[in-house]
Symmetry: C2
Subunit: 574 residues, 2 copies
């Protein structure tokens, strides 16, 4: 077989779009819009992300036969609209020999699929072969694994292979087999969620696969927030030598048009013909977007996740309690970034134990962000509860009950604002607090979205400093950044009276929560035994509280949520 | 091959136990106790449920390498304790060629396993072949499928095959292959959760498999509550002709000892020898427990699920709001059944809108059940909130905000009792309300356990009548059973002002929630279009509220919880 160096290019449009789960009409319109733009740019093919039409992940929506039928109808519309520029689009396919009524049959008979459409028809369909069923992924719940038929498509004279997400994550897998069949180019469509450790790994994987197979890979990811997941885009084209030819920006929609260099075709390559070659347009220069650093990426993920959750669920405005502390300050700053200052409302709810500093810090933050702030002192309701429970509690000392009462008065108050004005409540708990249960259920935990749920307290400080650095002025007040954290639910209370220092706590939590070490293993690593046992116990016994929390943006490789499925009733203390 | 009619018996102990997830020491002690009892009863083998040692389902606990190591150590102790009476026990096995540190490797290298122990050693290990990954099951997340090696074990002269749960649910599967290898008997260990539709199906499946293969099957299930699941026992022995030889009771622990008749061995059967034959003891008569009817089974499931959730999580007492309505009345009656009247505490929290009847009905219920009841009027806190929000809400009419405020005052009050006295709060919402969002988040929804979460309102009435019938006296007051349901959050409010009649609502909900029909399909079945669209929309937009609810007992084939994984951000309205 004769092969030569790069001898041609294929103009590929990487359609890094923001779909909406379940919104077939919206996703179809988005495909049509980006297809038109790709056609105008002279593309030979435009490539959309994984499960474009249904949105990703559709979860149990795909168990509804009617939904799968509707998604197939949307695909037919894409095909009908397609012309010379081929379209690769993700959808949910049904096994051909299967009546749609049998969807609930087990094992599953659905496929996570990519269709290649051109000249008014569906030219071919690829079924994802490797189904992730770990971490936040449940694809084996829904899909059967595709068989490797190594079908190639001739797109404007180039032999193209299709793959989906996980398919390119293993050596000697689908890409190698496609290459062996004669593929000149691999198109890979993705729904790959952001986590702070993964961004680099993902692009390195694409590079590895290109080097291993010596064919270029076009990697297209979506960009959106979907419940607890954020998809960060970063679509990329890697050439046959493993060089990054082009990269889309992270966290924004875009159509990235790239002239992808491809090697000559082997004489024996068998292809399904999709589109005929045309006269090549004037070459365009590829754009390689710069990758931001860790903290900037996290801030962008939190803003995108918050914006999409709020807006896709039909809200425009949010409200949150401003305590003068750093958690609510950071959440407010992210909310302003996500939604604009006019759509963010603060409420200060001082108690008999609130320091003067807390009130002035909250006011300064609101001023710095340009958001409005109500002030509603909680004393009347707190006093009322003390009176109401006076008889039932007679003879008993004040304890956590009275602290929780204050927090719950605040929760009830902010929910009343939410109900009256139609604002979604943002809740402000961080990962350290949520891990050890240092919050009041139905109190400070109330809300529709938990923005910094997956951010340890030590990172809350770092991100807050970054907010001010980026603004080149004081957004989060200096006093908020420097004072010792306190819940202010009793006189002179400080977090460090109840918890270890946050750097110590976070180190143990990372080992226990994110890395699945046992207490015994963490102690063996040199951490103080009593401390570790105490922290681990707190994490375990507070599982029931975390289950009742709002979703929040996942930014690590193991967030509380569908990532970490520990039983509530769990007696293991190893 | 020469085969004859039943020519021998094997004395099998079906150890229908209540393990605790994660509590290796407790589960080991339970195995040792039942083994001793089986030995005293002259058993040849005693059979424990699926994943006996870890508890089932252990969920992400098995991703901790330390936990898997500890569970293996517990197995070694079972083996060391075993003697002439063989023991079949479930545990989490690691692939033999795999270092334990690689647990997080994908695909998973763990097995859902059964060990046969005898005479101080692990004689053999069986790996589950069919891994359920639908409904509430996520076994593909954790386990690799076992390969069928059709190993048989000679136990007291009988060729025995091991299988685990799902393995016996298909025709021409593991049981058929074991039979072809010469098995005289199949031991099947289970963690099979109760649902009201499944009890009969499960036993019919065992019968089918026995008839198909013409060998007896011993089916052992656990009996416990574990978070939202209840395992109902009902262990059974089916003979080679498909006849039920013995059945353990449902919903209680027991050791059922059965002389299982087995056909003669084929001359060519290859076995791993476990224990030698002994002189047979005097035959014992098999016991076939009676199966209760649907409503009695559901009441038993709710009581067991509640008792185990409360007690395994370290609580002894519960508290709940008594409104005089039927939901709280039924929950109180179940709680008394589960925990005893001395451990159940009611609180009546009347408002300015409460009818006199509500107060007297609540008091009558408490009297009938013999539980204590506090009365805490909510007016002081409600009035305080109205005053606190007066300025912010000026110029706005009263609306749902003020209704929710009352509900949240009650939620806060019952949580204060919980905090002060260490009582777990039981929440009283039913499946119909939770489906359409007819409840107040952080209000009537507060609590640690949602007892009737999976019971439609129409069944709440039926179960309440059953409670009185079984007691042969009025437990739930007649007025509570007959008055129209009302939240009493404004003057003369009734549920049917906001919702369709419950029989109509429940019929549509069953189609939409439990059977995954789309709105269009339900309308095509003849239901009113406007009504269906309204109900479906309510179900969809209230997903975020349901996610913040406490777990509750699953009694149907699709409960809200890990059974139904719809996205919150979901724009499908088909």
């Amino acid at each position: 077989m004769a092969e030569s160096a790069a001898s041609a290019t294929l103009r590929v449009g990487l359609a890094q779009i923001n779909p909406r789960v379940g919104d077939l009409a919206h996703n179809l319109a988005k495909v049509e819009d980006f297809l038109s733009r790709a056609e105008q740019a002279g593309c030979d093919v435009v490539v959309f992300p994984e499960l474009t039409l249904s949105g990703y992940p559709p979860e149990d929506l795909v168990l509804k036969a009617g939904f799968v039928t509707d998604n197939r109808a949307a695909l037919e519309k894409v095909a009908a609209r397609s012309g010379r520029c081929a379209v690769v689009v993700g959808f949910v396919a049904v096994a051909e020999d299967e009546p749609i009524e049998q969807l609930s049959a087990r094992p599953p008979r659905l496929f996570n699929a990519a269709a290649l459409c051109a000249n008014g028809a569906v030219v071919g369909v690829y079924h994802k072969q490797l189904l992730p069923n770990y971490s936040v992924f449940d694809e084996a719940r829904y899909f059967a694994a595709g068989h490797d038929d190594a079908t190639l498509y001739d797109v404007a004279g180039v032999a193209v292979a299709l793959t989906i997400c996980e398919d390119i994550w293993i050596t000697d897998g689908p890409v190698s087999r496609a290459r062996a069949a004669g593929a000149q180019l691999c198109l890979n469509i993705n729904g790959s969620p952001f986590d702070r450790a993964k961004s680099g790994v993902r692009e390195r994987t694409v590079i590895e696969r290109a080097r291993e197979t010596s064919i270029p890979i076009v990697y297209v990811n979506q960009v959106c927030g979907q419940d607890e997941l954020v998809f960060d885009g970063g679509s990329v084209v890697v050439d046959a030598g493993g060089g990054v030819v082009a990269r889309a920006a992270h966290f924004v929609e875009e159509l990235l048009v790239v002239d992808v260099p491809v090697a000559s075709r082997t004489t024996k390559t068998q292809c399904v013909v999709a589109t005929a070659p045309t006269t090549k347009p004037t070459p365009i220069a590829a754009r390689v977007a710069v990758v931001a650093d860790d903290y900037d990426r996290i801030l962008a993920a939190l803003a995108l996740g918050t914006r999409d959750y709020v807006q896709k669920n039909g809200f425009t405005d949010v409200v949150l309690g401003l305590s003068g502390g750093i958690d609510s300050a950071l959440v407010a700053a992210i909310a302003v970034e996500a939604l604009g200052a006019a759509h963010v409302h603060g409420v200060s709810m001082p108690s008999r134990y609130s320091s003067e500093g807390s009130k002035t810090d909250a006011a300064a933050l609101a001023r710095n962000l340009g958001i409005d702030m109500l002030t509603i002192p909680i004393e009347p309701a707190f006093a009322a509860y003390l009176q109401m429970t006076n008889e039932a509690f007679s003879g008993r000392d004040a304890d956590l009950t009275e602290e929780n009462l204050q927090s719950r008065v605040r929760g009830t108050t902010v929910m009343a604002l939410s109900n009256k004005f139609g604002w979604m409540v943002l809740t402000t708990g961080n990962k350290s607090e949520l891990a050890v249960g240092y919050f009041t259920l139905y109190g400070d935990s109330v809300g529709g979205f938990a923005v910094i749920k997956d951010i340890f307290k030590t990172d809350v400080f770092a991100l807050s400093h970054r907010v001010n650095e980026r603004a080149k002025r004081e957004i989060i007040p200096a006093a908020t950044l420097t004072k010792p954290p306190s819940a202010e639910l009793r006189p002179d209370q400080r977090d460090d009276q109840s918890l270890p220092a946050y750097d110590v706590l976070d180190a143990v939590l990372a080992l226990y929560v994110e890395q699945d070490h046992t207490a015994a293993e963490i102690i063996a690593l040199g951490h103080d035994e009593a401390l570790v046992r105490r922290i681990v116990r707190l994490v375990d016994i507070n599982e029931y509280k975390r289950r009742q929390l709002a979703p929040g943006v996942r930014v690590t490789s193991k967030a509380f949520g569908k990532d970490r499925r520990l039983p509530i009733t769990n007696l293991y203390r190893g």
